[in-house]
Symmetry: C4
Subunit: 233 residues, 4 copies
Amino acid sequence: MKLSLQRRIAAEFIGTLFLLAAVVGSGIMGERLAAGNVALALLANTIATGAALIALILAFGAISGAHLNPAVTLADALRGGFAWREVPAYILVQVAGAVGGVIVAHLMFGLPLLAVSTHNRSGPSQLFSEFVATFGLLAVIWGCARRRPSAVPYAVGSYITAAYWFTASTSFANPAVTLARCMTNTFSGIRPADVAGFIGVQIGGAIAATLLFQWLAPIAKADSTAQTAEHDR
Amino acid sequence: MKLSLQRRIAAEFIGTLFLLAAVVGSGIMGERLAAGNVALALLANTIATGAALIALILAFGAISGAHLNPAVTLADALRGGFAWREVPAYILVQVAGAVGGVIVAHLMFGLPLLAVSTHNRSGPSQLFSEFVATFGLLAVIWGCARRRPSAVPYAVGSYITAAYWFTASTSFANPAVTLARCMTNTFSGIRPADVAGFIGVQIGGAIAATLLFQWLAPIAKADSTAQTAEHDR
Amino acid sequence: MKLSLQRRIAAEFIGTLFLLAAVVGSGIMGERLAAGNVALALLANTIATGAALIALILAFGAISGAHLNPAVTLADALRGGFAWREVPAYILVQVAGAVGGVIVAHLMFGLPLLAVSTHNRSGPSQLFSEFVATFGLLAVIWGCARRRPSAVPYAVGSYITAAYWFTASTSFANPAVTLARCMTNTFSGIRPADVAGFIGVQIGGAIAATLLFQWLAPIAKADSTAQTAEHDR
Amino acid sequence: MKLSLQRRIAAEFIGTLFLLAAVVGSGIMGERLAAGNVALALLANTIATGAALIALILAFGAISGAHLNPAVTLADALRGGFAWREVPAYILVQVAGAVGGVIVAHLMFGLPLLAVSTHNRSGPSQLFSEFVATFGLLAVIWGCARRRPSAVPYAVGSYITAAYWFTASTSFANPAVTLARCMTNTFSGIRPADVAGFIGVQIGGAIAATLLFQWLAPIAKADSTAQTAEHDR
């Protein structure tokens, strides 16, 4: 039985808030403790983010689908598993939750509520990385959705753990995350000037993977609502 | 079939003992071997704690529910899934087990049985961190309890793995753990003066998350006993 | 219901491409950030590869079987679970996907499309390591195939995570991967001169494990198609 | 359907061989690459061992029960789940497999087949650590055996991952492993003089946990054969 939209967007808000708190907070902690060793800081950031995704998708998957990501919401709508009329509400609370998560992380580490990032992430390598990262994320989601939706939390957490290291951009792969991360001038930040490009290629990657999987792994109509996490059926 | 209270509190005692042995012992080992690199010491501490939680909740979940945490016991009682009359016994053995775990860790590493910590963990950032940490822990537990209780061990282990890094306090998120950790003057210790504040906000965070999820993800009466681990049904 | 060969080889292509992007990309990132500490670089490479395997086998297992490895395809055919007439197509797209993955990794990190590796991996220790690595990989696959095919993604990801460290060669264990890795002059590369030896012992190890398990854990005829991931039944 | 004893002891031999190859091999690799940082070497050793256990128990659990450990075999016999007359054969191949694994690791890393360890692991802290480590291992196994045997591979892998760090002895917790590790003069070695003490307290810990769980979590007669991995039922 599907829960009310109100409940579902509350879940998206809290889930995305915790996701950003995890990404930004662990970046701050990692950088503070790593004594200048960037590999160690990113390793901490990676393990925290991957583990947070597993926990959050397990917890919120059965409530809201645990998209926590406008690219996932759009892809799900594109494939017919999510009502277009609910897309704006989902994206709005994802962005609001993401910004809220940055604020929570800053408060936990005694920093100003928000700050403009100066972290340069520009150039074709970065943009191509984000295209690949988001293409792969949606490929993993659609690949699991057809036959083993209950594995999605582990698949997504594992995928992002890997993608933090195998893409040059450390795999944002999420427009709400990208937008919020320009508001923190810490390890995980991104300059506001680089945000639009990131979001553009992320959406491109998500659409490309979704179209490919529409052919590659057709989902029966009744099953077509699979997204980040197993659905409520 | 529910096991006798005697058996269940024995399980809570042993489980919490091993949890603290893992937290404190791996902190000692990590600090000894890390040659001053705090990120590496915390990484070892994190991996050991998260893995221990998975193993312990898998092992004790079907016996006692594997609360291992007074905040979880209180929250479960608050939600109607656990009898209030059994709460004192659970909390008592959780605290006793936690202190026992510190002693066991000290014995394994050749230290005096107990020692007063001098590790300062005060200030609003620390307190806010513990509120967030415990709110998130209960959110994850309640989120999973409704639809996939068998995933709770992985969700909780993953959540704490992340929270060690994304909160400024390294996420105690457990009053029994907090109390016991003031009795070790090693990596994972906390000054006795800071304990009461931590416990207060932990209980606050647990209650807040529980009230929120009472609305967010209603559990049918018959299912309302879900907690740290899947229940015995 | 089995999907068309066209769809299945597309899945093998994309899966192997992402596998190589993960192996090569994370090697580049690890080496760049680790400031000369090879253990840290290999740890990043390991975590990324193991996590990528879990995600990719979960995603592509139900489409193509997620072999992503000619040694697995050959072993599956040898055991009767895969049609010999489809073997060439599978191997071809695995190799093509692997090379594609190297190119994608190089593009993401701003390197020339392909480069000849100068990484010496020769000598009997290296060859014996690859025999052991691939024997173990197939042992793990066949061991899981009989009774719990749905655990294969986790078993394979875990096995390779371990084997990166317990073999002297860092466990290529995959002819397509080996061939493609001679085209990157980065952390994970291998000299072209060392490729043939690696592939030879990999196939030897795969055949040896397959013959052993044919006796050790007989699979009923109807179940004989198990391979890297649970099959479509 | 239970497989023949011949098949089951072959599985125990190969499984224990790979377990030791993983423990010893990753210790060698970790020490070689870690440039003197013992925390990093142990972290590599830990991740490889925990991951190997997950893969091996998943693969061999349904064949032989994947004891891979004389303490588990004894405990299972003590509890009535394993025939006493098969105990000697199991223990014999576990020890032989363990020694074989050390040889395989040495061959992979270009070392002499066997060597006497000079690694001092003596004193009451070490012995108490091994008692705790093995008590905990059997507690985890018996805790899972009753209700979720299919989680044993993950529980045991996670437990040992934690115990490598929270015990002062790095948690051998296995008499066959202990015996074999006195034959390698590398990171994971142990002096022959320290072996008997380790094995004695390991067996003591295993028996203590087994007796406790006989009361704590009674298993119905028909279910009493649970051990390291889910059984063949």
